[in-house]
Amino acid sequence: MTESPSLEKYVPVPSTLEGIEVYAPAPEVSAPHQPVVDFKCPQCGATTAYSVLDGGLTCTHCGYYEPPNKPVMGKGAEEFEFTVETMQRAAHGWGEPRTELECLNCGARTSLSVGSLTSTCAFCGSNKVIQREAPQDVLRPRFLVPFKIDSAKCSELTQKWLESSWMTVAGLKRLSRLAEFSGVYLPYWTFDSVTRAAWKAEVGHTKTERYYDNGEWKDRIVTEWRWERGQVQLTIDDLIVEGSQQLSRLLLGKLKDFDLCDLTPYEPTYLAGMQARAYDVTLEQAWDTARQEMRERTRQACHAQASTSQIRNFSMDLDFSAESWRYILLPVYVAGYRYQDKAYQVMVNGQTGTITGQRPVDWTKVGLVAALAVTPGLLLCLIGLLTLLFGGVGAAIGAFGLFLLILGGVIDAVIIAKAMSMDDI
């Protein structure tokens, strides 16, 4: 070492030995913690909110615009390991059952529900973002994907979606009353891991063999079972698991096509005027869910490695490594509509525009189509039976009719399953 190391950007830390000084890199200076961030326009004093179209904080009164401070991180956003300390603290959640908030604008008092990160004063409409101090710094949301689609676009997409399926009632778009979309940042956990598995199983190989029976040679198909072994390594990147149980997990599960390349460091600006929820599914619970998904993917990869798909006595040893996680907020629009005094829910991915939700099914229409699917087969079967009594050609007609009947049955099963998934979630 020819030059003395520079101590710029280093601060002294306690040393256990006399005569030895120790310096460590200075910690990053973070902005002082603000329990509540109030959004007021610096020009006119009106309430400001995050604008999806402009991608920043805007004032609708005077046109003031403030872009976000931090650049997009994407998939390079920091991840954390499952340290023993983190796992112990994550189970405790945020620790506060309820919060009373006094509006600094008009003095009104608002009671916030558990897990709320934002609030709009019901009296004066001012927007606030609540920043609770988490039991551990890593357990507060540090990244989010901003909204890319505004609520007007959501409504437009939903209107088209309502009548996109033949199974729904006619004129659903006209008959339903669609409530306004609310943008909400929902909590999610993302997980990365490398799985290594060693598997073994008996794999069946079918072959045709000839055998002599009653004076003639015959063929039969036999299955030969052989033990096979293999090893699989999978790298699973950014597996998303819902962090909230407040909304339908089935519907949320269909919206997981978020592009995490848009991950951005958390700033209260993004939440102004939006709803946001903190997690109520703990890290441990979410990791359990993610692990189940990861091991199933690994198991399927092991099955795919076998030389045939006939497998029995399958066993595998699976090892997780390089596990990491993030706690993020993802944008979702939620709206409801009513049809014949029944409430239905619609959700839209606030980044990609993917829609999912409930739609009322016209069961009469579905029933007619189902009946239509099996009718030709049924008729041909009947004709075949009748002609069989009178001649041999009936067998062929009956067989073809049976084939059509089975095919129709399969089609019916698919249609009914789809209709049930649309109607009742």
Binding site: L17, I20, Y23, R291, R299
Partner: protein, 378 residues
């Protein structure tokens, strides 16, 4: 750099031997191997305790030798006495000479004990004061929770086990250092790497102050190594000691990539004499093979060799036995032409002779394998 070395010891001017050491001493040398010693009385006339091939003879110009060939001629500050009991010494010699397949004829405990010579080997103990700027990467252990899973279709699904793994988090650290590192040993003799390794096994805490009586007990080797060379050899161990202290100061579990910019502002050199027994045995070529014994712990070091000659002789003996069996077998086979059962006996005898003949290579193979393992291990 050693430009600011302390005034003591005096590496420049050689002493008057008797005045310095306190009793009559002679500077003697071996004409064959070149080792020189300080010796007194009868010791000065004995066989060289290093090569065992020639007798020692007094140096013609001892002062010139002190000036030109030796680094330091004054008596030591400290001496480690010969503390090994005769019983322990005998036991260690016995242990060294045992367990060798087909040992040379001369490799016996009695021969080794009879030829024992005492010799003091010089070592410097260096106290170093250092100021430095240092930097490195400090490693802090932390634990993460991971999982291992086992799936078995027959046993009904998944079994999961949480495991804790220890990982290391690396962070840069820098700092300053002002410390003293006392009693760092470094050999004062050139060459003799094997001896250096043996010298590293002494406990320096048992050293006493020098008295003239101490030097009468044995040959004394004087330092012949340039102090700058000795200092250069010491620097890596000082850096390691400093790195370890910086790790402790930083409360880290590990430290890597340690670098420093050091300034040694005070050095104190203390000469210490370490006790060593030297003896030898003669190998197959009648060449003396040295054996060293640590005069404090008794640990022996030296070439333990099997005798290929003896092993070959044993093999030849077995071969001769095989030859004899073949001869008898052949006679029995011939006799078997008249008495049939003897044919079978003759045949069996031939088979046995063949096996015994093959076994003749075992003793030389054992000796070769043993000598090879000693070479790899050394």
């Amino acid at each position: 750099m050693i430009s600011d070395m302390d005034a003591t010891p005096d590496f420049q001017s050689p002493p008057e031997l008797e005045a310095a050491w306190g009793f009559p001493l002679q500077l003697v040398a071996c004409d064959l191997c070149g080792w020189g010693y300080l010796a007194t009385g009868d010791l000065a006339k004995q066989q060289c305790p290093h090569c065992f091939k020639a007798e020692l003879s007094p140096m013609e110009n001892p002062q010139e030798t002190l000036e030109q060939n030796l680094a330091y001629g004054y008596p030591p500050e400290l001496v480690m006495p010969f503390t090994l009991t005769p019983e322990k010494l005998a036991a260690n010699i016995q242990s060294f000479s045992q367990g060798i397949p087909y040992p040379p004829v001369d490799l016996k405990a009695e021969s080794l004990s009879r030829r024992l010579q005492r010799i003091f080997i010089p070592v410097w103990l260096v106290d170093a004061n250092v100021r430095a700027d240092w930097q490195g990467e400090a490693g802090f252990n932390y634990e993460v929770v991971s999982h291992q899973e086992h799936y078995n279709e027959i046993q009904g699904g998944w079994k999961s086990q949480a495991v804790t793994e220890t990982k290391v988090r690396w962070e840069p650290r820098r700092g300053k250092l002002d410390r003293t590192y006392p009693n760092n040993p470094v050999t004062a003799l050139e060459g003799e790497i094997g001896l250096k390794m043996l010298l590293g096994q002494y406990q320096v805490q048992g050293a006493h102050a020098y008295t003239p009586e101490t030097a009468r007990q044995a040959f004394v080797r004087l330092p012949d190594r340039n102090p700058e060379d000795a200092w250069r050899e010491l620097l890596p161990s000082l850096q390691s000691a400093a790195a370890e202290e910086c790790r402790q100061a930083a409360k880290a579990d590990h430290l890597r990539d340690f670098r420093w910019r050091s300034d040694f502002y005070h050095r104190n050199w203390t000469l210490l004499l370490l006790p060593l027994y030297m003896t030898h045995y003669l190998d197959d070529d009648n060449q003396p093979q040295p054996v060293y014994l640590n005069g404090q712990s008794g640990i022996a070091s030296g070439d333990r060799r099997a005798s290929p000659k003896r092993a070959r002789r044993a093999g030849l003996f077995i071969l001769a036995a095989a030859g004899l069996i073949i001869l008898i077998s052949l006679l029995l086979t011939l006799a078997g032409l008249m008495v049939t059962p003897l044919l079978a006996v003759g045949g069996i005898g031939l088979v046995i002779a063949t096996l015994v003949g093959i076994a003749a290579i075992i003793p030389p193979a054992i000796a070769w394998q043993f000598n090879r393992s000693q070479k790899i291990g050394s």
